[in-house]
């Protein structure tokens, strides 16, 4: 079980890293929503191209992105097999009653490319800002405070609980336990998860105590210093324009 290390490279210096976090979130979200709705393979490929370009500007290490893209690709890979067989359309190969169609291929290809460009953009957005700053930027963007606080605290406690679970797991293993998907294995795992829930429930109680002893009333209050500069407006505007043009260029041209 690994720690989430999405912001491992947030301290690199690049134009994307220096982009104001609020503007970054808005810009990238617009782009992501724009690119996942592109309706032809050509447009989707242009989208992926743009995402790759931004990736190069962001100077993030290759392994960071490739590793995560691979996971998404493997997840979607079955589409490439099922859809050509199942979607009706022009046959490009036939074997007895099994037909492989061009449309099926195209459709699955389109989905995968859209997904890859969306994930690339998301990785750049998240990978170039410390995660706590991303959350604070969301707060500045008027995402409801209750959700912001839950995101913040959950993020913090994921690390604590991963450690806790690791310790439990090691204790189990050192008593000769191996997890298998049988009744015994699952029932022991069930006990472990039950224990994790109990411990977390008690911890929640203690966290609550320590919060109210610091005057907590349920309202989020943080100090954040972000400053939007002309440069940020310029980058944001041009990127959003590109995102919109991908869908409307035929009206403009």
């Amino acid at each position: 079980m690994d720690y989430p290390e999405i912001d491992k490279y947030a301290s690199i210096d690049s134009p994307i890293h220096n982009f104001d976090p609020r503007a970054k979130i808005i810009t990238f979200m617009v782009m992501i929503f724009s690119f996942v709705f592109l309706d032809t393979i050509t447009k989707a490929l242009v989208g992926l191209g743009i995402a790759s370009l931004i990736y190069i500007i962001a100077k993030l290490p290759k392994a960071f992105v490739i590793h995560r893209l691979k996971v998404v690709f493997l997840f979607l890979f079955p589409l490439l097999i099922i859809m050509p067989l199942s979607v009706d359309g022009q046959a490009i190969a036939q074997y007895h009653s099994i037909t492989i169609t061009l449309e099926g291929f195209q459709y699955s290809f389109l989905v995968i490319i859209r997904a890859l460009s969306a994930v690339t953009l998301a990785l750049i957005m998240l990978g170039t800002t410390r995660f706590d700053i991303t959350i604070k930027a969301l707060y500045m963007l008027k995402v409801p405070g209750t959700l912001i606080q839950m995101l913040m605290f959950t993020y913090r406690y994921i690390f604590v609980i991963i450690d806790e679970f690791q310790r439990m797991w090691k204790a189990m293993e050192s008593k000769g336990f191996k997890l298998k998907a049988n009744r015994y294995g699952l029932s022991v795992l069930g006990n472990m998860i039950g224990m994790l829930i109990i411990k977390s429930y008690d911890r929640a109680q203690r966290v609550y105590h320590s919060m109210i002893s610091k005057g907590y009333t349920g309202n989020p209050r943080t100090i954040v210093n972000f400053e939007l500069r002309t440069k940020d407006y310029a980058i944001a505007l041009s990127m959003i324009l590109i995102a919109l043009l991908m869908h409307t260029y035929h009206l403009v041209l």
Binding site: L79, G104, V119, A122, G194
Partner: protein
Amino acid sequence: MHISDGVLSPAVITAGWAITVLLLLATLWWGKKDVDIAEEIPKISVMTGAFFVASLIHVSIGPTSVHLVLNGLLGVVLGTLAYPAIFIGLVLQALLFQHGGITSIGINVINMGIPALIVYGIFKKGYSTGINPSILGIICGSMATMLSAIMLAIVLISTGEEFTEVAYAAAAANIPIMIIEGILTGSVVTFLLKVRPELLPINKEK
């Protein structure tokens, strides 16, 4: 069982977000009258953290391994708060681990969250009619997974008929997970019942 970016149509994505926002309002802001939000926030957060971590566990079946879903258990333990908890959990899974897309968070939360709410009702009802909680746990665990799989299929089909077979395949792939989730949820419920029954939605007055 999370849907990635780039799969769903604009209409489905929009509908997904709209329904999720409404349900969040209903489950979170609605209850604000009766409960102290200052107490609920740390509780949901830490519990979400626990479920998030538990869902990172791989169970290997045959040559592949599956991640746990645990939405049935979430429903049983957290009740209506399971919905915001699943929302926060899925947002973090999408942002931190790229499990599920960002644009499809709305839909994914519906797919996981609504079964959790249903199962919560079933557990409470079933307990008050005297059904053994461990068996209820098995039912709730597998039923939540099954409902999620069915909803997943419906969502995929409604985004485009190209996805019909994919939807069937995805639903079928969830059958072993359903069994695992059932046994697991049953044993967690059994454990909690022995060690900390007050964490389960069972009112002893009855």
